[in-house]
């Protein structure tokens, strides 16, 4: 619109909505990973491939959001949190979906023979726990809106600290399951190559939980350390 003088330029780019959207992609990708695991168990190659594609696309979209935030959060912006804290937090959050993407490719590496029932169950359990930790993480990020609305009230910050604690708790539980699974895997009678593949997947699943906890931790640093 021509012939207009506007004060609107004083309002800068806000990265918080985009960050939340990025975290929602992680939730969807983690959910699809469970489906892909079930397809992997039943040996449904086509489904594995189509889910691989979907997760890959999600990771790509998340990357675009990350790039958008990085381009727009310039020095001239004054945000309610430290700019460097925000950008390093974003890097941690982006790692979560990167690990999910790594795993979605691994399911396509090889058609496994027989997977022992107890191992299959434990893997499923771990995947559900990872879904749980990621949902909790997304809820944590959702706090940003009320955080800004209340202008970082003490109550909101306390809620966030409790939330991060619960994420760290689930991460610890994931670690335990991961250790159990390692023992089961390395002592199983399955095909050696299958064991290798599953172990690789297992390590990366552990990394999803770890990186989620790291991102939650740096979110806490960003919120508290302003």
């Amino acid at each position: 619109m021509r012939f207009i003088r506007s004060i609107a330029d004083v309002f800068g780019y806000s990265p918080f909505k985009a960050i939340h959207q990025h975290s929602e992609y992680i939730v969807v990708a983690a959910d699809l990973l469970v489906d892909q695991y079930e397809a992997f168990i039943t040996g449904d190659v086509e489904k594995i491939a189509s889910l691989e594609k979907e997760i890959d696309t999600l990771e790509h979209e998340a990357d675009k959001i990350k790039a958008e935030i990085r381009t727009h959060v310039t020095k001239s912006l004054r945000l309610p949190v430290d700019r460097h804290d925000l950008l390093s937090f974003l890097t941690f959050q982006d790692e979560i979906i990167n690990y999910i993407e790594h795993i979605c490719h691994m399911f396509t590496y090889r058609e496994t023979k027989e997977i022992e029932k107890n191992i299959e169950k434990k893997f499923r359990q771990l995947l559900y726990m990872i879904n749980d930790i990621i949902c909790k993480y997304e809820e944590l990020i959702d706090h940003v809106n009320s955080l800004i609305a209340t202008s970082f009230s003490k109550k909101e910050i306390t809620d966030i600290l409790l939330h991060v604690n619960s994420i760290e708790h689930v991460e610890h539980e994931c670690d335990k399951v991961q250790i159990e699974l390692h023992k089961l895997l390395l002592n199983s009678k399955m095909d050696v190559l299958d064991i290798m593949l599953l172990r690789n997947i297992l390590i990366h699943l552990g990394e999803i939980a770890n990186s989620t906890a790291r991102a939650a931790d740096s979110f806490r640093t960003m919120v508290v350390g302003r």
Binding site: M1, R2, F3, I4, R5, S6, I7, A8, D9, V10, F11, G12, Y13, S14, P15, F16, T74, S76, L77, R78, L79, P80, S146, I148, A149, T150, S151, F152, S153, K154, K155, R226
Partner: protein, 333 residues
């Protein structure tokens, strides 16, 4: 002849008032639209009435500064004053129109002060008055007020929002607080409109008042300016309110209240002191103040740089244009 010049001056003044209403008044009111405190119709009515009242009841001091505080009109004859006033208001109006077209954050106050300075310098170059007779001390104070007003707005807004934050937002439900502040924001919207009218009417009618040579600006001149502003809001400003309002929805009622209260208080104080300041720049300062208090998701400080460039550009351009137009008019009239 002098009557024709006078009528022209009056017409351009009304255009200037219209432009002020259409853009500056509209921007000040957009903060109440963005937060949803008022509907567009309510805003136009409130702004129209209170801008008029502010101009009519409280606009004389700044008008006097612009009309007689810069150029020593008591040393000039009627004819020269009439030409100078026309040249000044015409240049300021022209520059504002050009700058608005290019979305530059210029101020009508800066333009008119630059233009009046141009008139003074033109008179000096004709050897009608000595250079020292231009009221440099007043100009000094005006420039100082331009620097201080956005800073004052920022500090006030920072304090007001911080108080709201620590006393209210941290103890009560946010949604309820915002709801209550919607009503308070109706009051600050009125306050802003009144303050804006009282300060900015001078940018339109200051030169005309000089033509009269009255010791005080006649009230019908102020009324005309106020009316021009009100018409500007109703005929074009509503579009600006909509466009700007939609982009600043982040300014919730508590934030809007803080920014508006700070802006109106600063601007009204300036009106009391007779200083022609920029309401828009004060508002930008106030919004930044809320941002610094942690009230906004993001504010962009690069706007400050653009505002400073516009200042630096506006004064010489408005003065230069006035000198040129004055020189031409003197030959023909």
């Amino acid at each position: 002849m002098i009557e024709i010049i006078f009528i022209f001056t009056l017409i351009v003044s009304i255009y200037m008032a219209w432009n002020i209403g259409a853009n500056d008044a509209a921007n000040s009111m957009a903060t109440s639209y963005g937060s949803g405190a008022l509907t567009l119709k309510q805003i136009i009515i409130i702004a129209g009435v209170l801008e008029f009242l502010g101009a009519f009841l409280f606009g004389s001091r700044v008008t006097k500064t612009v009309g007689k505080g810069i150029v020593p009109i008591e040393l000039l004859d009627q004819h020269i004053i009439a030409i100078g006033a026309l040249a000044a208001i015409f240049s300021a109006g022209l520059w504002i129109t050009i700058a608005t077209y290019f979305h530059l954050p210029v101020s009508t106050s800066h333009s008119i002060v630059g233009a009046m300075l141009g008139f003074g310098l033109a008179a000096v170059s004709e050897n009608l008055i000595p250079l020292e007779s231009i009221k440099w001390d007043v100009l000094n104070n005006i420039v100082l007020s331009w620097l201080l007003s956005p800073i004052t707005g920022a500090i006030l807004a920072f304090l007001i929002f911080s108080l709201i934050k620590f006393l209210i937002l941290s103890n009560m439900d946010v949604e309820r607080v915002e709801h209550i502040f919607k009503y308070l924001q109706v009051l600050t919207a009125c306050y802003v409109a009144f303050a804006h009218g009282s300060n900015d009417v001078a940018n339109a009618v200051g030169p005309v008042s000089a033509t009269f040579g009255f010791s005080e600006a006649p009230s019908w001149v102020l009324a005309l300016g106020g009316l021009g502003i009100a018409i500007g809001i109703a005929t074009w400003g509503y579009r600006v309110i909509e466009t700007v309002g939609k982009r600043i929805t982040e300014l919730t009622p508590t934030r809007g209240f803080s920014a508006e209260f700070a802006t109106a208080t600063t601007v009204l104080s300036a009106s009391y002191l007779g200083m022609p300041i920029s309401t828009t720049h004060t508002l930008v300062g106030s919004v930044l103040g809320v941002g610094f208090a942690g009230g906004l998701a993001s504010v962009d400080l690069s706007v400050v740089k653009r505002i400073i460039y516009s200042w630096v550009l506006t004064i010489p351009v408005a003065a230069g244009l006035t000198i040129s137009i004055y020189t031409v008019l003197v030959v023909f009239l």
